[in-house]
Every structure is written in structure tokens, then in C-alpha cells.
Amino acid sequence: MLAPILPGMIEFRIHGRGGQGSVAAAYLLAAAAFEAGFLCQAFPAFGAERRGAPVTAFVRIDAVPIHLRSQVQAPDYLIVQDETLLIDPTLTRGLKSGGAMLVNSARDSAEIARTFGCRAMAVPATAMAMDTIGKPIPNTALLAAFIGLTGILPLEALATALKGRFGGDILDRNLALIETAAKSVPAGAWAIAPQKETADA
């Protein structure tokens, strides 16, 4: 596999509600990154482990070993699985300048961007998931949209990660969902400009 090129470590914070698969999303993103040749770290900030309660999870992706174990304080990207969490004005705390947020919402992206003062993209991931898998689980659609926007990983890496976690009909539906979701966003709109090679650092 080609040595991956990253501008440095990329950090994510995923916000969701218990039951939406936020922790699974973190693990899937990390597993997809591994499939694409990166090193990865994903973990939850466990607190109230109950359905509907706010949940946070973290992902780090790098081409070199990741030693840092703290929660992600200054994410490059936020993935927000539930638009009701947008009522929290501190949701984007620590977001790096130039960072971006991907939100599961039917709202206008520009409106969200204005509210939080950062790049934002809204994707109706719950609706897409209802159409394809029949369940309001937005995580795989959001990950696919993120991959479409950034081009950071090939979509096949996410497909491989999904195959490691699911099988049968659920897998097939999710594979169809990620194709649809990746195509629903402007490809490469958030492309990361490689600034330095870190693979052999």
C-alpha cells in the first residue's frame, strides 16, 4: 500500500446521543483509516451510558504512532450525529481554525456555518439511513459523507471496515448507504492539502 500522506495528525470529535452509534462511528472511522494504511486511535468519553443522553467519542489518525491519550481538545473535524445538540453554543469548543463540522441535519449548511463561525456541512443522514437501512442510525452515512468531502480515505476502506463489523443484509444495506451518502456531498470540498510527508517521520 502507498505510504499515506497527511498534513500531520488529524483529530476528530464525534457528538451524538446514546443509541445513534457514535462510539461505533469512532471505531469504524479508525478501522477504515487502518485499512487505508494509517495508524489510528478511537475511544469514547463514557459518561451517561443511556439511550438519548449526549455521547462524545474521539478519533485520531496519523501516519506515525500515536502516543497521546488525552481526550481530543482541539479537533480538526467535528461530526455531529444529532442536530438537537446544536443548541449547545460550546459544541465547537477547541475546533481548530480552518476546522469544519459535519452535521446530520436537513437544515441549511450556511446557516450552521454562520451560527458557529466555522465551515459546516449538513447532510440528512437520518433520512438517508431510513431510506436504505430502515433505521435512524446516521453514523455510516455521515462517515461516508465525510470521506466524500475530504477524500482523506478511499470509500473502499470504510466498506472494508464495515465488513469487519457487520454481515448479511445489514452489511449490504450499509454498503449501499455509504455509496449514496458519499455522492450526496461535493466531492473534495474539504480536501486536505498535504503539507508534509509524515509516513517516514
Binding site: 486511535q41 475511544f43 469514547p44
Partner: protein
């Protein structure tokens, strides 16, 4: 083979590679995923073991005690209140010199209730007579778990593998899972000298009169001291077989010429490593000492590791109220008769899951410049959260 795995899943697979005859455990956060995954391996036919579901940690420890005494390779795992509920049995296991392996998914101890990580649980059974090894990342946790089965057999002592709850147990990262055939070659079949045998009857843990109790405690202590070389030899053999090491008793990294050292156990080491890499230019360089063996305590190795230092920052992930740091106090004791020993700055931090940011490195390095700093502090305490009379 390198895989992206959750720490707990990797530990379950590592345990399975060691082919335990008996596994018994009671689920408790953040250990649960380990026994869930083991249970799944058994249910799916990938692990042939007697998986004994029990109603408490006291029973889990009792089951593995009995199983190992009868000649079975046995494994259990717990955390926090589970460690405390096991405490009586843990002393019995060690006192009877039963070789078995337990994972502690380190978690704070109640009250107040906390499900999050610190080292209060394994520290509470510090004097139980178990070997205690701390893993700094999930690769080390996997490798140490397998090594622990061999160390337990070679020393006839139980081994506790401590891994930070959530920070390691619930973190997915890239782990190189060893090959099953290589583990078969590394780990000899289970056997130990005190094994119960109807053909050669013996009693374990019987009433011992004052005429012999001191001798038994002495021999236990002696076995623990001898275990130091078994731990390093096992890690060397691991390196020969798998090309990587967990660092024996302790490892030293960072700037060799630094006058400041930092000692830590567990996952905090990685965060300090990152903090040092990013801020050593401003905050100053350090020698980072990753302590893997806490029991037996690597006195000689530690004395060597701190030679030439002016300051030694010792990080405790637990507290002994009324004294201060546990590791810090022990290190002060083993350095007491060392000429020109470094000044010790002992800090507890990350208690009850308080996040440890990478800026902790610069903050710890800055704190040594205060000549009036107390010998011990809860470093990340926010006194503003306390009423004046509680500060």
C-alpha cells in the same frame, strides 16, 4: 498480524491464545468487554475453556484459585469494587503461591462512585503478594498478558496485569496480534510444584502456627524479589520470539543529558511522551521513566535510572490520604540512602478519570521551579471547587 482492535477485544484474544483451562469472571465496568469477548470466543467455539459464570468477584477469584490449584491454567479479570470484593481471595491466592493471571482494568474506587480510570484499585491490593505489571499501551497489554502466564508459572506467583480502564480497554488502536503457533512455542504447558495431586496429597493455605508464618512470608518476599529477573528474562525471550519488548522492569527514554526525570506507570507515559516531543524546547528536556513492574519493585533498576538527576517528578494515579502519593513515597524510600539522589516532586493526577492533557508535561516541568512547592500535591486539583474549609 496487525489489526485495528479495541483493547479489551485484543486482551480477550491474547488470553485465548494462552489456552486457559478455566476462565471465571464477573462483569464490571470497564473490564466488561474483556469477559464479554472471552465469552463470545467460547460460545463461537474458538476457545475451548471452562467458562464459569459466577455471582460475584469473590466467587470468580475463588473459582480460579481452586482451578489453578487443581492444575488448570486459569484467568480472571476485574476492576475497582471488584478488586476490593476479591481482596480476601487475592491474598489467599498469593499466599498459597497459586500461579494465575488477572487483568485489572484500572478504575477509581468508591465512594464517591466513579467508573473512570485511576490506580486506586490495584494500589489497594498492593501488599497482597501479587506481581503487578502496568501496560502503557494496548500492544504492551497484549504482550504482557501472554508473558504473565509464563511469569506466573516460572515464579509460582499470581500476576496482575494492570491496564488503564477506558483509556486502554475501550481504545481501538493498531495491535500486532501474535500467531497462535508462536504462543504455543513461547508458553509451556501449565504445571507448578504445589499443584494438588491425589497421588501426592498436600494441603494449601492451612493453619500455620507462629513457628512457621514468618518463614512463609519471608519465602514469599524472596520469591517476589527473585521474580524481578524472571520478568526481565521473560520479556527478553519475548523480544527474541516476536521482535518487540515491553521494557522489562522499566524503560528510560527522552534526553539522556536531562537533569529532570519523570516516572509514570500506564497510559500516562504516552501523553508525557507527546508533551515532551512538542514542548521540550520551551519546558526543558526530561528523562522519561516508564515503570512496568510495580510489584516486585525494581529498586536497583530505578536507582540506576535516576542517576545524575537533580529532580525527579513522580506521578501517582492514586492517593494514600494522610500520606500522599504511593509510588512517590516508595521511590523516596528506595532512594533514601542514595548519595546525591534527586529531589522528588510527587504529584497525583488524573484521579477518577480527570483527563490528562499533553500540556501536563510543561506544567509539571514548570512546577519544579517553585522552591516552596510541597513534596506532594494533587496536581490537577481545582481548589475553587472546594469550600475554604475543605481546601
Amino acid at each position: 498480524m496487525r489489526e485495528a482492535l479495541e483493547g479489551s477485544q485484543a486482551i480477550a484474544r491474547a488470553v485465548a491464545l494462552c489456552k486457559p483451562d478455566v476462565v471465571s469472571a464477573y462483569p464490571i465496568t470497564p473490564q466488561t468487554h474483556i469477559v464479554e469477548n472471552l465469552s463470545k470466543l467460547v460460545a463461537e467455539g474458538d476457545l475451548h475453556t471452562e467458562f464459569v459464570s459466577v455471582e460475584s468477584e469473590f466467587s470468580a477469584a475463588s473459582v480460579v484459585l481452586g482451578a489453578a490449584a487443581a492444575g488448570a491454567r486459569a484467568y480472571t479479570a476485574t476492576a475497582s469494587q471488584g478488586v476490593l470484593l476479591m481482596a480476601e481471595v487475592l491474598f489467599n491466592i498469593a499466599g498459597m503461591r497459586i500461579p494465575l493471571v488477572m487483568t485489572v482494568a484500572n478504575r477509581a474506587v468508591s465512594a464517591p462512585l466513579s467508573i473512570w480510570n485511576d490506580h486506586g484499585d490495584s494500589m489497594a491490593v498492593r501488599d497482597s503478594g501479587w506481581i503487578q505489571l502496568h501496560a502503557a499501551d494496548n500492544q504492551e497489554a497484549v504482550d504482557t498478558t501472554i508473558q504473565a502466564f509464563r511469569i506466573a508459572q516460572d515464579t509460582e506467583l499470581p500476576v496482575m496485569v494492570c491496564m488503564d480502564g477506558f483509556i486502554l480497554t475501550h481504545t481501538m488502536e493498531v495491535i500486532d496480534m501474535p500467531d497462535a503457533a508462536a504462543i504455543d512455542a513461547f508458553l509451556p504447558p501449565f504445571a507448578f510444584s504445589r499443584q494438588l495431586d491425589p497421588g501426592d496429597p498436600k494441603t494449601l493455605g492451612t493453619l500455620v502456627s507462629p513457628d512457621f508464618f514468618a518463614e512463609i512470608r519471608h519465602s514469599h518476599h524472596s520469591a517476589m524479589v527473585q521474580a524481578l529477573s524472571v520478568i526481565t528474562d521473560t520479556d527478553s525471550a519475548w523480544h527474541d520470539a516476536f521482535g518487540r519488548s515491553c521494557g522489562g522492569l522499566l524503560t528510560v527514554e527522552g534526553d539522556e543529558t536531562a537533569r529532570v526525570g519523570i516516572v509514570a506507570m500506564g497510559s500516562t507515559v504516552g501523553t508525557l511522551r507527546t508533551g515532551m516531543a512538542h514542548s521540550a524546547a520551551e519546558a526543558g528536556p526530561a528523562r522519561l521513566i516508564k515503570l512496568r513492574a510495580f510489584r516486585p519493585f525494581p529498586t536497583d533498576a530505578l536507582r540506576k535510572a535516576v542517576a545524575g538527576l537533580d529532580h525527579l517528578i513522580v506521578i501517582d494515579r492514586a492517593i494514600s490520604p494522610g500520606l500522599g502519593g504511593i509510588l512517590g513515597t516508595e521511590i523516596a524510600a528506595v532512594l533514601a540512602d542514595v548519595p546525591d539522589a534527586p529531589r522528588i516532586h510527587n504529584h497525583a493526577l488524573g484521579l477518577g478519570g480527570r483527563d490528562i492533557p499533553e500540556t501536563i508535561y510543561a506544567d509539571l516541568m514548570a512546577a519544579i521551579k517553585d522552591p516552596d512547592a510541597p513534596a506532594f500535591s494533587v496536581f490537577d486539583v481545582d481548589l475553587n471547587k472546594l469550600a475554604p474549609e475543605d481546601r
